[in-house]
């Protein structure tokens, strides 16, 4: 296999946290004001963590930085104990729906198969096993009858489920989810929540952005509140089993 970006696949460091950010500051291109300021984050393996804040709080910026789409101005990120980028195939990222060209003439199944591409690298086509994994994920997300439909003909909720199916077949251990429950139908909310619970049982780590505090209920082990790019105290009393922000480094 000829991997993309010439990157190597490093094994995770034993007993290391799933994700660790130390003093992370991020600027958007050409802007003087930082989008994230001095963010500290430690997420143990197998935990479900919510990133909460209003629009523009820096949730998507933090997820994109961890996913390798943005370069931090200062601070460090480690994924499974390795430098960011050495374990990129173990991290799957679910973007906001608006960031995808839904008019492109491919089917739902072809979109989901893209989750396997990182394991194929340059020039290699999906194998029978890849197709089977895609079929399994499509079934999990209750999309089987729509597998041959052009992606633009799916509803918003179906598109969101297709993107989650793509994340599932990557065989990653960390899921970065950017507002997966935003503006979707109740059926999709229920399916996605069930799938995520199942993923947690399998030992996956979840970091999910949401601007809706009401969405935060029992599945989460910890919450990081953001406001204007900074970690802030929660607006009212929340009781979660683990501390994941700056306190976790104390």
């Amino acid at each position: 296999m000829l991997p993309y970006g010439g990157r190597h696949r490093h094994a995770s460091v034993p007993n290391s946290p799933a994700l660790e950010c130390k003093g992370l500051t991020v600027h958007h291109r050409g802007q003087l004001e930082p989008a994230l300021v001095d963010i500290w984050l430690k997420i143990p393996r197998g935990a479900a963590v919510a990133l909460v804040g209003a629009n523009g709080a820096g949730k998507s910026t933090l997820l994109k930085t961890i996913a390798g789409l943005l370069t931090p101005s200062s601070g460090t990120i480690s994924v499974l104990g390795q430098e960011r980028g050495n374990c990129f195939h173990r991290v799957s990222y679910l973007p906001q729906r608006s960031e995808i060209d839904w008019h492109f003439p491919i089917s739902l199944k072809e979109l989901v198969l893209m989750g396997r591409y990182v394991h194929l690298g340059w020039f290699q086509s999906p194998t029978k096993e890849d197709h089977e994994k895609a079929a399994w994920a499509i079934n999990e997300l209750n999309l089987f009858n729509l597998k041959n439909r052009q992606i633009g003909e799916l509803s918003g909720g179906q598109q969101q489920r297709a993107l989650l199916a793509r994340c599932l077949i990557q065989d990653s251990v960390i899921l970065l989810l950017d507002e997966p429950l935003n503006a979707v139908d109740p059926e999709t909310v229920s399916i996605i929540q069930n799938v995520l619970k199942h993923q947690l049982k399998m030992g996956k780590t979840i970091l999910m952005a949401t601007h809706d505090v009401d969405r935060i209920d029992n599945p989460f082990d910890g919450v990081l509140f953001l406001h204007q790019g900074r970690e802030v105290q929660p607006p009212h009393a929340f009781n979660y089993p683990i501390k994941i922000g700056k306190e976790s480094f104390a």
Partner: protein, 284 residues
């Protein structure tokens, strides 16, 4: 004249046989790359690259080189400049294309007037597929095969970075690298297309058949096959029109492609309005 001789007579001439072979090659390269030009909304780039080949062609003519290589070098340089601008983001990409496009085309016209070669290079501006000789045909065949092989082996990456460049980026594949490769492939294809329809009309081979195909299907494989087929059909009808009506071959091919697009679009619009009417009636 019976129908068989009407069909076969034009191709009894070697120059028409060469034109047909060129057309087949051009249909495959333009049809397949045209799909990406349409879905990535790069129509302006295709047009720009064709125009920017002109100073290279003029320089090649002056230096006594094969015109193809002059055009290719100029188009490749332009595609790299556009790619660099789109990465640096200091200037909007369409602004950069607009500047490079008009500047290079003006340079080509200026060179033509300085060298007093307007008449010699008129076929470069408006194309003459009937003038493609054996050597040029071999060159086009080799270059087209290379383009098709690269497009085939990179099909997964081309689709991935078109649909979701951010996802590709998170998995280590640089969308910018794929875009640069695509621009270079388009540069090669427009240089080939210039042989058929000339600098001014080249972008229509890339854009019009693929745009027609886009109206008919929502599956990439069908879209690509139809783009190739429509490019070929338009080209062959254009060749017949050129032969029997004695009109410029480049113009005849482009006009046929445009008419095919108009026909498909009209049929689709009529079908749509019928569908709406039936729906409204059903609601009552």
């Amino acid at each position: 004249m019976n129908i068989v001789s009407f069909i076969l007579e034009p191709f009894s001439y070697p120059f028409m046989q060469n034109a047909l072979l060129t057309l087949i090659l051009v249909s495959f390269t333009s049809g397949i790359l045209g799909v990406y030009v349409i879905v990535r909304r790069m129509a302006f780039i295709g047009d720009a690259l064709a125009h920017t080949a002109l100073p290279g062609v003029v320089a090649a003519f002056f230096l006594g080189w094969e015109l193809f290589w002059g055009g290719l070098v100029a188009a490749i340089i332009t595609s790299l400049i556009i790619s660099w601008f789109s990465r640096s983001q200091e200037i909007h990409e369409d602004t950069a294309i607009g500047i490079a496009f008009t500047g290079m085309f003006a340079l080509g016209i200026a060179l033509m007037s300085v060298l007093r070669t307007f008449r010699d290079l008129l076929h470069v501006l408006f194309g003459n597929i009937l003038a493609v000789n054996q050597n040029t045909l071999v060159l086009i065949a080799v270059v087209s095969t290379l383009v098709l092989l690269i497009a085939f082996f990179l099909r997964k990456e081309l689709v991935w970075t078109s649909v979701d460049p951010i996802h590709a980026s998170t998995q280590g594949l640089s969308p910018h690298l794929i875009r640069t490769i695509l621009l270079l492939l388009i540069a090669v294809v427009v240089t080939v297309d210039i042989q058929a329809v000339g600098v001014v009309l080249t972008s229509s081979l890339l854009i019009t058949p693929a745009a027609s195909a886009n109206l008919l299907t929502k599956r990439l494989i069908h879209f690509t096959a139809l783009a190739v087929l429509l490019c070929l059909i338009g080209g062959i009808i254009g060749l017949y029109a050129s032969y029997y009506l004695s009109i410029s071959s480049g113009a005849a091919i482009v006009l046929t492609n445009t008419l095919i697009f108009g026909f498909i679009w009209t049929i689709k619009m009529i079908g749509k309005s019928h569908g709406k009417k039936n729906k409204t009636t059903a609601n009552y």
